[in-house]
């Protein structure tokens, strides 16, 4: 059976659901026996949910609008 270190080395593909079926079977065999790795998988998935769903990185329009507007102003100055 895989060690925890072996599991951790491969668990990214497992989390992203891109592991091959053979690898997935080995990883799931380890997970059935290892509560620590089950906890890590679960809390890592929740971490990803937090990062993607918290909206912390949703910038208000007023924060980014000036960027393109300023660039367009510079472009127009160059082309006139």
């Amino acid at each position: 059976m895989l060690s925890c270190a072996d599991f951790l080395a491969e668990f990214g593909d497992y989390i992203d659901d891109t592991a091959s079926s053979d690898l997935r079977a080995h990883l799931e065999e380890h997970l059935r026996e290892c509560k620590t790795c089950r906890v890590i998988v679960d809390s890592t998935r929740k971490t990803i949910d937090i990062v993607t769903e918290s909206g912390c990185f949703t910038l208000p329009a007023e924060a980014v609008d000036p960027i393109v507007t300023a660039v367009m102003s510079r472009i127009r100055q160059r082309t006139t």
Partner: protein
């Protein structure tokens, strides 16, 4: 999946862009027809079309820059320079990558130049060395997290903790996490933008997620937790 509004553009390696603004190996790329049209208009001299071309990606460019320079003012400067550079080099853009990927790569390169100029990366390199650099990352927290209620995602404490956790990551992990989990670039696109192998991106992404998890864990032991004991399991054995 191809749709009526998309077209697949495959180009050969000889059409690669220069390293400072271009992409790595050629890949199959899907861009909207509208985007392809806008690119052609700009390439033919219609500079006003550039506004519509880049506007959907201004947030992505700003965030990519912010993941490296770490303050709003510098990120805005970098984003402006990156977008202007994209305009200047658009005639050389051969569509072997998505325009958004190409644009974000320019932003990443501009941000790295800014860091080099400011020499701030030297301090980060020292800090990364202290944290183990490219060595394996061993998880520090083994609590069984409770379910996260949706209202928790609205809490200011969580937002503050998330920002702090992200800020605590070494640059190379923070950038991969932002590109992959916030910007939702694919592994292939992230590798192209950063000039890394896909294997390297996967490794950095796993470590970034584990470090974010450890950085956020204390909140699930108290500040955000209500009514459930923080259940620890045995120490991790590696």
């Amino acid at each position: 999946m191809m749709t009526a509004s998309t077209e697949t553009i495959l180009l050969s390696g000889k059409d690669r862009l220069r390293p400072e603004t271009g992409m790595g190996s050629p890949v199959g790329v899907q861009m909207t027809s509208a985007e392809v049209t806008l690119i052609r208009r700009v390439q033919n001299g219609d500079s006003d079309a550039f506004f519509d071309l880049v506007r959907p990606y201004e947030r992505a460019v700003f965030l990519a820059a912010l993941s490296l320079v770490r303050n709003d003012a510098d990120a805005e400067d970098v984003a402006q320079e990156a977008i202007l550079k994209a305009f200047k080099n658009l005639t050389r853009f051969r569509q072997e990558a998505k325009f958004s990927t190409w644009l974000i790569q320019i932003a990443i390169n501009e941000a790295k130049m800014k860091l080099r100029k400011d020499r701030r990366h030297l301090y980060e390199s020292i800090e990364e060395g202290r944290l183990g650099g490219d060595g394996d990352y061993t998880p520090q927290d083994f609590a069984d997290w409770r379910e996260i209620p949706s209202e928790a995602l609205e809490q200011k404490e969580l937002r503050k903790a998330l920002t702090k956790a992200l800020d605590s990551l070494p640059e190379k992990y923070r950038t991969v996490l932002i590109l992959r989990d916030v910007q939702h670039l694919s592994i292939t696109e992230t590798a192209q933008v950063l000039g890394l192998s896909e294997a390297n991106v996967k490794t950095r992404l796993s470590r970034a997620r584990l470090q974010m998890r450890d950085a956020l864990a204390p909140g699930f032991d108290g500040a955000w937790s209500r009514g459930r004991t923080y259940e620890r399991v045995r120490p991790f054995d590696v």
